[in-house]
């Protein structure tokens, strides 16, 4: 079935409309405004929205019903993701509901399920992801953080980095090394670490957008109960790959690009050069057209994948293709935004990122949010396996080179 035919399916259209309606009525205006203007969101903003979704039973729609989900298909999940993003909902922080939760209900013990899943659903526990290390970024199998068994505990030592929102986290799921045999992928285990445990230190990393999203997490003789090991020792790499695969169809970030393209449209209509809006300039018009065409192209590719998934096929490496196309499109859009701002001067008034800030705005209204987005999104082609790595994967696994 062609993707476009699938999108015309009445049930699918009805679901899309339902998500749109829900966002229109339930997404708090103050949160939406912060998102749309690129301002800082606090932990409470994220939690508030996630609890609203929890109340609607949508927070883990893609989980199986037995664990409190809705058994959403990949297509439903993609529609939910797109429509909430377009509506200006905050990023649905995935560390609990998309990462920790599915690994726990798939590979965890009954005790782990009972203990962790409810608070993930209600966002009463905030999770972070302990994967990357200073020497293991795109080359993740190279992790060095060690967990040594000591009675009914593991003693964990090492350093994680690029840990998003660790400053707010109650728990971390981490890849740690419990063995050194054979390939580096072996001997990696999947451990759940209490961030309040002695020996855990979180140090902020300020990124080039002047914001604090990222952290270093130092683990010094951290004692982790042995029953916080998920599944089997040494199988952590398998679980991490399962996760990656699980998320494969969301990497395109169609919803986010759609929202950003709307913002670019508005910006081009508002900024004037020589008395007329940039949107009337032939070069800007073509560039806007090109970004729109790329978005429609990306969406079409996603729809084909989703149609295949809906038809029961198990797509494999699309995550790489969607990640490449999606991240490069986002950078194309935010790059156009700052080029538009540059017509009036690139003022980065970081105070303007703070909600409720009232001092006089210098430069173009809304500029700080757009500049922040642009600077932040330089990372989209780096994180989650740099695009160079994604192209290596496709060359090898899909093209057989």
């Amino acid at each position: 079935m062609l993707g476009i035919d699938l999108m015309r399916d009445p049930a699918i259209q009805a679901f899309r409309a339902e998500v749109q309606r829900f966002c229109a009525t339930h997404l708090p205006a103050d949160i939406r405004d912060k998102v749309l203007s690129g301002q800082h969101l606090g932990k409470d903003d994220y939690v508030r929205w996630q609890k609203i979704l929890f109340d609607r039973d949508w927070i883990v729609g893609h989980w199986p019903r037995q664990y409190g989900g809705q058994d959403w298909t990949p297509l439903q999940r993609a529609i939910f993701d797109d429509e909430t993003s377009k509506a200006g909902a905050p990023w649905l922080t995935p560390f609990g509901v998309c990462y920790a939760g599915p690994v726990i209900y798939t590979f965890g013990s009954q005790a782990q399920k009972d203990r962790f899943l409810p608070a993930i659903r209600s966002t009463d526990t905030w999770w972070c992801q302990g994967y990357s290390e200073p020497g293991a970024g795109s080359d993740l199998a190279n992790i060095k953080t060690r967990a040594v068994r000591d009675g009914d505990h593991y003693i964990v030592n090492g350093q994680k980095t690029w840990t998003t929102m660790a400053q707010w986290a109650d728990m971390m799921f981490a890849l740690v090394r419990t063995g050194n045999d054979g390939k580096p992928q072996n001997g990696i285990s999947f451990l759940l670490i209490d961030m309040k445990a002695p020996g855990v230190t979180v140090r902020p990393i300020i990124s080039i957008d002047k914001c604090h999203h990222l952290n270093e997490v130092f683990l010094d003789d951290v004692r982790v109960p042995a029953d916080h090991l998920v599944g089997e020792e040494g199988r952590g790499w398998t679980y991490a790959k399962f996760l990656l695969n699980n998320e494969r169809l969301l990497g395109a970030e169609v919803g986010k690009s759609t929202r950003l393209l709307h913002q670019l449209r508005r910006t081009l209509a508002e900024i004037r050069d020589g008395g007329r809006p940039l949107a009337d300039d032939p070069h800007w018009r073509r560039r806007l057209g090109e970004l729109r065409a790329r978005l429609l192209g990306l969406e079409a590719v996603c729809n084909e994948y989703l149609a295949a998934a809906e038809a029961g096929s198990t797509p494999g490496l699309e995550v790489s293709a969607l990640k490449i196309m999606g991240s490069e499109l986002i950078q194309g859009i935010t790059g156009a935004m700052v080029d538009a701002l540059a017509v009036k001067g690139l003022v980065y008034q970081t105070e303007g990122l703070e909600p409720g800030w009232q001092a006089p705005a210098v430069g173009v209204p809304g500029a700080p949010g757009m500049i922040r987005e642009h600077l932040h999104d330089r990372a989209t082609t780096i994180y989650g396996g740099a695009n160079e790595i994604q192209r290596n994967i496709l060359a090898k696994a899909v093209l057989g080179l």
């Binding site: 057209g289 729109r292 290596n392």
Partner: protein, 379 residues
């Protein structure tokens, strides 16, 4: 609605692919290129037997009742096989114009003849080759007189009729022109992809009232051009897929510095980008075709068909350029030879890029619509 199922379409694609493998190999194709016609008359007759020529013609006119989706399947396969025959002007443009805008008599005369392979039709529209002499029509008794020039009439030399767009007192009109009528001059050459192409000059040519298409207005022409643009996208997708396959094979087999070229990272990444580009062009093309069909059948259109068509043509043009150029680059010297087929794909893609609006033209329209909030404010 199309009389075809998805399975029928697969069978059609297989049938074209099989024909190309069996009967349209390099030697036969080379002979066709050298022929005066520049396409295969025998092949055209065979296409009729195989039912391809009537694929989008109604069953009441001897066709099998398909539509744009089936034409796209045919054109994609034609792109893979670099077919030289006049599928685009005859099946997509002329038959499309006649089916949607022709009189009952015109349809009865020409549609069965097209489906049966007896008639080849060309289409002449848009700018004059030179400047300042677009075709104008004026009423003349019970008919019309046409004067002016049209450039780049594909397959004009072989056409039994040329459907000519003309300006009639400020409105668009379409006429069935007999190329042997008095006052018609055709100057023939070849396009960059070896197709026969002509400049058409009309000097006060008499056309009967019965040879004007009653429904041949600007709206029809606009729809036709979008349909033709999508058929061209489909042909380009086929050509890109084939060029990518050849290039990937070459990367795997050609050795240099003691190893296959494909073991180097730069060619690897470039090949990945080429494959992604073809994949995107295919996906957006099928999306646009789906939307166009939905719009045509009154179904609920998810996206506006013109928007998706513009995006499809622009993205497939960008993909065609990348794939065409880099196919040659990655092949190295062998890619520069006329004997090897990759250069033919390149030249075919160069032409397809430009037909029915190049990337820039479509992007300008798409950008304008987007700036104006077109598409129900949905981007």
């Amino acid at each position: 609605m199309s009389a075809f199922t998805q399975e029928d379409r697969s069978l059609l694609a297989d049938s074209v692919d099989r024909f190309i493998t069996d009967a349209y190999g390099p030697d036969r194709r080379a002979a066709i290129l050298k022929s005066d016609d520049g396409f295969g008359r025998a092949e055209w007759a065979r296409y009729a037997e195989l039912g391809w020529l009537g694929i989008a013609i109604g069953e009441d006119h001897g066709g099998s009742g398909g539509g744009l989706a089936e034409l796209a399947v045919l054109m994609r396969a034609a792109g893979r096989g670099l077919l030289m025959e006049p599928l685009l002007p005859t099946l997509v443009q002329a038959a499309g114009a006649l089916a949607a805008g022709g009189s009952a008599e015109q349809q009865a005369q020409w549609l069965p003849a097209i489906a049966g392979g007896q008639a080849i039709l060309a289409f002449a529209q848009d700018d004059a080759a030179g400047d300042g002499a677009p075709v104008t029509a004026r009423p003349d008794g019970d008919g019309y007189r046409l004067s002016g020039c049209r450039g780049f009439v594909l397959y004009g030399a072989a056409a039994d009729r040329i459907i000519v767009k003309a300006d009639l007192a400020g409105d668009t009109a379409l006429f069935l022109l007999c190329p042997t009528a008095a006052g018609v001059t055709l100057a023939h050459a070849r396009s960059i992809d070896d197709r026969p192409v002509s400049d058409l000059t009309l000097d006060n040519v008499r056309v009967a009232a019965a040879d004007r298409l009653p429904g041949g207005d600007a709206a029809l022409l606009d729809r036709l051009n979008r349909m033709a643009a999508l058929a061209v996208c489909a042909e380009a997708v086929g050509a890109m897929e084939a060029a990518n396959r050849l290039t990937l094979d070459y990367l795997k087999t050609r050795t240099q510095f003691g190893t296959s070229i494909g073991s180097f990272q730069v060619p690897q990444h470039r090949m990945v980008d080429m494959v992604l580009a073809a994949q995107e062009a295919a996906a957006i093309t099928w999306s646009a075709i789906g939307a166009a069909i939905a719009a045509g059948t009154g179904g609920p259109a998810i996206r506006d068909a013109p928007v998706l068509t513009a995006a499809a043509k622009a993205r497939s043009a960008a993909a065609a350029r990348l794939i065409g150029e880099q196919s040659i680059q990655l092949h190295g010297g062998i890619g520069m030879t006329e004997e090897y087929v990759i250069g033919h794909y390149y030249r075919r893609l160069m032409l397809l890029e430009t037909l029915f609006g190049g990337a820039g033209w479509h992007l300008d329209r798409l950008g304008g619509w987007t700036a104006a909030g077109f598409d129900g404010g949905d981007a």
